[in-house]
């Protein structure tokens, strides 16, 4: 098994674990973390496309690699917006959750 295939399969496994955490974790920040894990798995799968695209004179295809670099920065920007939304949501209500049922329940008076 070549290093690139191994890295690709690692990426596939990471997508699986990320998806599992994204669905199951009730805490929104944990969901965000799992989503980032999933994203890095996708980047890794794309990375082996870059490695396989190697032609004479170069060990990799620079185009997918450049796109992964752009992707990492955009993923961070999106995470920052998600964090800001989560913090504001929690500050405005008494719940740190995305569960819609919690929101429809009558308020127990602990909120401001």
């Amino acid at each position: 098994m070549t290093p690139s295939v191994l890295a690709g399969l690692t990426g596939a496994a990471l997508v699986g674990f990320g998806l599992y955490g994204l669905i199951l974790h009730p805490h929104p920040l944990r969901k965000l973390l799992a989503f980032n894990l999933m994203g890095s798995g996708v980047f890794l799968v794309f990375g082996i496309v870059a490695r396989r695209g190697a032609v004479a004179g170069s060990r990799f295809d620079p185009v997918p690699q450049a796109m992964v670099i752009t992707g990492i920065v955009v993923a961070f920007a999106a995470s920052a917006i998600a964090v800001a939304l989560i913090l504001r949501l929690s500050a405005e209500s008494s719940h740190v959750t995305l569960d819609p049922e919690v929101w429809t329940k009558p308020n127990d008076g602990t909120t401001k």
Partner: protein, 316 residues
């Protein structure tokens, strides 16, 4: 040579092991620490894929700055002290999710094992385009980012500004124009202050070196900018500097400088060299370095602002 395949397997199992820890850890803080370690290990995988530029970006942005963002967010959430009791999902739901995740992962794995042969590649095209512009850049990644796919890179800078605008917009109306809350509420420890005082000048120098060397060797505007951003965040964590007011002119100028210079150079290329984002061959390398210098400035301003979050009503 027989050692490398073993190292690859060990590295892959370490990455997966730390990923599992990140998902399964009980505490948010432990999970974030796991994620930072995971990002650093992933950087080694990228090096094994002959992608040192991606490795640098993953280590700096993917693991470092994202880690600071999540730890800061966790602390601010903890300060709210109103976490609702978390409902744990049932066993059947867990099993179903596990099956779904396994299915997706195996489908992806199958695709990877069945990738077309010979593989498609844009490398010759990219090399031709980079040479055609006479860029004279030794680093093919920088050539792609700044010449072959320069429009993508510029739009990505605009995405960063949009993200900053998005984060600022989430703040309360009354707080508009004020500074974001400090990254650290308590008085910092003396070792933290010492670290920031020692590290920041050295780190800033290394950041500029990484940007400058990026034309010919692994490195570049993203990596250098992220490192510079990290140094600013270290000084903010030590409370040597507090986040600036979001209505300050210099901050907004620094944020838009990168994309603005990039766009103006692109438009100038349309007049001088005959195509949008074309550079005159004899001047390509100086122009690219000039644009990149402003990109470093914008990245170094945008990343800490994204971490610092929306403006806060309290000055402290």
């Amino acid at each position: 040579m027989s050692l490398l395949p073993i190292l690859d397997v060990v590295l892959a199992s370490l990455v997966i092991g730390v990923a599992i820890f990140t998902i399964s850890a009980r505490e948010l803080f432990a999970s974030v620490v796991g994620y930072v370690a995971y990002g650093l290990l992933l950087a080694f995988v990228w090096i094994r894929l002959y992608a040192p530029d991606v490795a640098l970006t993953e280590a700096a942005v993917g693991s470092g700055v994202t880690g600071v963002l999540l730890i800061t967010a966790g602390k601010r959430l903890g300060a709210l002290k109103n976490a609702a009791p978390e409902a744990q999902p049932g066993f059947a739901f867990k099993l179903l999710t596990a099956v779904l995740a396994a299915l997706v992962a195996s489908a992806l794995g199958a695709v990877i094992l069945m990738l077309p042969d010979p593989p498609p590649s844009l490398a010759p095209e990219a090399a031709a385009a980079a040479d055609g512009a006479g860029a004279g850049l030794g680093n093919p990644i920088t050539a792609v980012l700044m010449s072959y796919r320069s429009l993508d890179t510029m739009l990505e800078k605009i995405v960063l500004i949009l993200a900053v605008v998005g984060v600022w917009s989430v703040g309360a109306d009354k707080a508009w124009g004020k500074a974001p809350a400090p990254l650290r509420q308590q008085k910092p420890y003396a070792p933290m202050v010492f670290l920031a005082q020692m590290l920041a000048p050295v780190g800033a120098l290394i950041a500029i070196h990484i940007f400058w060397t990026g034309a010919n060797a692994p490195g570049g505007a993203f990596q250098g900018g992220a490192l510079l951003a990290a140094m600013w965040m270290v000084t903010m964590m030590a409370r040597l500097a507090d986040p600036p007011r979001i209505d300050s002119q210099w901050l907004r100028l620094a944020l838009v400088a990168g994309p603005a210079v990039f766009l103006i150079s692109g438009l100038a290329g349309a007049v001088v060299a005959g195509a949008f984002f074309a550079y005159p061959p004899s001047l390509a390398k100086p122009i690219i370095l000039f644009i990149e210098a402003f990109m470093v400035l914008s990245i170094a301003a945008a990343l800490p602002m994204l971490v610092a979050g929306p403006p806060s009503e309290r000055p402290d």
